[in-house]
């Protein structure tokens, strides 16, 4: 038996058009941060507990009050309908089937109402426009479709530069009909419709007031910024470097997580994404202070195989997490504190 999860990236590479796969997999600039993401988890070593009853392993948790079977959920990504015709619907159904949660991109290719109709627990990822009021219709539409929280992306005042080599880009080869279908009315030509470059802590409060939803701030790497977000009312801090797609040479999320979690304490929930590929990565993230872990590229690669493949991906990861917890002597997620170490004790 080989590990099926290991095959997903290569399967996607072969199945998808070159510009699409390149876009999904690439990092900004030299790709340093993107390429380090997984290794940054894998360089932690684990100090398993023994002589603890691990008959029953409880992986349940909540994120902002929503119950999850397992602290693994799906991060927002774009172009899902280019990867598979079912796109966001497959992703939503798979998360619903596994007791997970999906974060839907504000550029999603599927109407929010259709996503809500799957019964999945979902959050909306948000980019705000320079004129904030132009974002209101999209927010209202998501609220109406049952989004349970908003995820404000704060690391993208401009899109990070990537090098695409020769040939057409993904934008030249993608059907525009599957891009940004939720932008109704189409305000993209209105003055102030461009992406905001002046986001500030006040936007957290504005979003919460406008929608009545809790706000998660995604793209935080510094403890001081995490504190600022918490003080401005953020319900969740999402440690992310945008998959290495924005500022290259950004610190890995595996390295940034613990200082942020310590700064936040119990005043907000802390999540993380970036390079998570296995149950061992998840258990490491939990040990370092994450309440839940979000996956970006892995479900996208699985999506090539449709809803069932995404579901298997989530189930396999849950199984790996249960195995890692059991072999670590951890019955509950909270038992993982202190499990992952780096330094003299580890030989690193």
């Amino acid at each position: 038996m080989d590990r099926w999860l290991n095959s997903l990236e290569e399967t996607a590479r072969q199945a998808l058009a070159v510009p699409l796969f390149r876009y999904l997999s690439q990092g900004a600039r030299d790709g340093t941060t993107a390429s380090e993401a997984h290794a940054a988890w894998a360089e932690f070593r684990l100090l398993p507990h023994v002589l603890r009853d691990v008959t029953e392993i409880d992986t349940r948790t909540t994120v902002l009050g929503t119950e999850l079977t397992c602290p693994v959920a799906v991060a927002p990504t774009t172009l899902q309908r280019a990867v598979h015709p079912d796109g966001e619907l497959a992703m939503a159904r798979a998360t619903a089937a596994t007791g997970s949660l999906v974060v839907v991109s504000s550029n999603a290719g599927t109407p929010f109402a259709d996503i809500g109709a799957t019964g999945a627990d979902w959050w909306l990822q948000v980019y705000l426009s320079a004129d904030r009021t132009l974002s209101e219709p999209l927010l209202a539409s998501a609220v109406a479709a049952g989004a349970k929280a908003l995820v404000l992306t704060v690391d993208t005042p401009v899109v990070g530069t990537k090098y695409d080599g020769a040939g057409p880009t993904v934008w030249e080869t993608t059907d525009p009909a599957i891009l940004r279908v939720n932008a109704e009315p189409d305000l993209s030509e209105a003055p102030g419709a461009e992406k905001a470059t002046d986001l500030g802590p006040h936007d957290i409060g504005w979003l919460a007031e406008t929608t009545g939803l809790p706000v998660v701030v995604k793209g935080v790497l510094r403890p001081d910024d995490a504190r600022r977000c918490v003080q401005a009312g953020a319900a969740g801090i999402w440690v992310s470097n945008h998959g290495g797609r924005q500022l290259d040479r950004s610190v890995s999320t595996a390295a940034a997580l613990a200082p942020v979690a310590e700064a936040v304490g119990s005043e907000a929930e802390v999540y993380v994404d970036g390079g998570v590929r296995s149950g061992l990565d998840v258990v490491t993230a939990l040990s370092l202070g994450a309440r839940a872990v979000f996956l970006g590229r892995l479900p996208l690669y699985a999506l090539v195989g449709g809803e069932s493949a995404v579901q298997r991906m989530l189930t396999d990861l849950q199984d790996e997490l249960v195995d890692a917890l059991r072999l670590s002597g951890c019955r509950h997620l909270g038992d993982t504190r202190g499990l992952a170490v780096r330094g003299p004790l580890t030989g690193l």
Copy 2:
């Protein structure tokens, strides 16, 4: 002249069926912990003493009162009769001949009585069943056959996942007659016969009381767990990550050893296994606080050549240890404290 010990793994790879060698050599998951085991010893540097009389080198020690010629002994491993028809008997005779000690797996393919009849000093490795009373016949049989101590494996509530690739597994290609011959009566179908997932410190006391033998806890990597075991009556703490076969990314035993030894102090004996391949590895382990070092894969690979090869393996390792001690200026095993270092002084 080449180093004969270096040839054992390759010889075994060529001699054994693919599924068998793969099973013996593989690690869990990505194989990270398995592959780091030896390197973790080799990255220590030694600070030899000079101007000490090293005419006579004394490698004798005791483990739980049993005298050893040299602090190197054989860890429990399964499938020995698949490696060589003489299996555990060859292993026992070789250790007897060299003044070493063998730990016999509770899954051994040779009756305990036959092992005891070799005159070898031996300990029994134990997995407890969910219903502890179902383990009693096997324990009693080992006591009757002269086992001098019990080694309770605590890192295996479930078996770690390995990836086997294509082709049949070792279990599909191994004669079931050489597996678990000591399970008499055969209780494997009885309710509660499955491996315990609720081991606790109390099992240490239960085992000692049930058998009257000292109990060694195998699979400890954390100082706090070592303390718990000592307080529960363990006579020995065996630092092990099960050859990297259970929780992948577990800390190397070379890194875990010194903190555990410090936590245990003189209240119990401390042993270690994992990646030990040479006298330099042994002297490093002694320097870091091990009273004895156990070998898993190396004797298994040697076993391909039968008893004489195992004996030569042990003798060669003893010779290497004597050489390492002499060149380190250490007459006695206790002189090794402080010999192995890591950090600025070493250039690492």
Copy 3:
């Protein structure tokens, strides 16, 4: 799209004669310091700020009172006319066009007056002769041509040894007419015309008094030396190891910068060169205390394409810096303090 700046070295390698390219690119001795220069920047990790208004990014600064569009300028290099017929003129015009500054080598192949006539802001790089008075005509000529500061190179009492392999050297294949055209009168045969090997702090004051210009000391790697220079009247400290062309195994400038900047404080300006190839390198240098960053080989390689290529090189680098600042949440250059880190937080 590929990164054009990445192509410059290879383009130069193909366009230039072997001895010339080898001379420009090589380092002293084993080339250790030369080869580490860029990697030393790239091993820092960045901790970007979020939720800051980055609509406008201000990269303006001053160096010794001269305004720069961006804190990136051109270091002194020789043989520019061997690289391109326009040589120093192309370099000067390109810096003028982009609001940058050029430092002209005292061995330049173009008369200072012609350089001054371009309108570029320029400084003169100075080697002093054993008899300091023999340097005076060249200094006077530079002052007359509008040099705004002097850059005293202090790391070259002798020229570092390089290994050239077989074939002719660059000096055997270069037209002597394009070397040292500003040495008027030609005093190279006069007693005391050889390069000084007894430079001391007093030379800083002598230079300032002789010319009335501020003096920058180039080639400082130690905080104590930086203090000595400041106390002797230096207006700027230029952290440099001469592109790895002098003392091999010199510390990287990326590692030396912060301690020097801390020692200097606000008493002088601190610059750096060495291995800077991208906006991320620049932002790292700024974070570590540099007021401006000088480029040596990159503009030389660009010069193969003449003035327009040098101009594009500078513009591309400015664009990269703006992008890096914006994605780092830094509106002003001073906001970069604390952005670049190395150590446990980074996973390195």
Copy 4:
């Protein structure tokens, strides 16, 4: 121009018989310590001083009162006459011609009187026999031939194991007439003639009293041992791991040097050998506390070319040292303190 010193090892490899070159170049066991020796120097980084008068560089020093042109001398090695017919004579003449010093092996293939007749400054390397009195004739012979000091090798109670692969060994292919010619009378069969395994600090005093010569202890890696030697009357402490030929995984001498030098202070002279190949290595060793640096394999490799090649080797190294000192701003050897660093400042 290429670096001639870089060619010596390859030239020797091609010129010498396989068993001989293998013997000269090999390390003990896995060869870890032997292979790390040079890299351990090369990983230090240098912090050169500037604005110091480096017109004159003074490399002179003394070792136990003997004046050296340069702090580089020749370590004792065996089989010199197998490398070149002139053997020790070529080595002695080359050191005499360059103002260096040679340490002659007690196994030398040339009579001490002939070595003394060259006028070279020389020391005798000593192994003591189990019955110390059997060593007296050889010591007396060296004293008579003008040896100025004794170098007691303390890291070789037994010879470290090396792996030779197939084919004959060097001992099977070497003319015995060139081995141990100074053992007169031949006491090798006498009881107690075997190498001592009980060397102790008292042997230092015994040697000094027996010969009236100062005693250097070679093979010290630990500060505590260095203190013991000094207290027992050693005039010099020679930091060495025997070229990685004795205890494999011994700490590098580059790492061991500074702690030993600090422990010794001014109470004895401190020397070092091991992997020194360049002037940069020498300047690093001086910076870390060595008074002089000894070369083992490099002069042996040069010896393939006879006296003139050894002389050129020494001269080239002296030139490199002068260059390194000048570019480091060091006029005197003592100015090197603090020049070589490892740690955060260096980027390593």
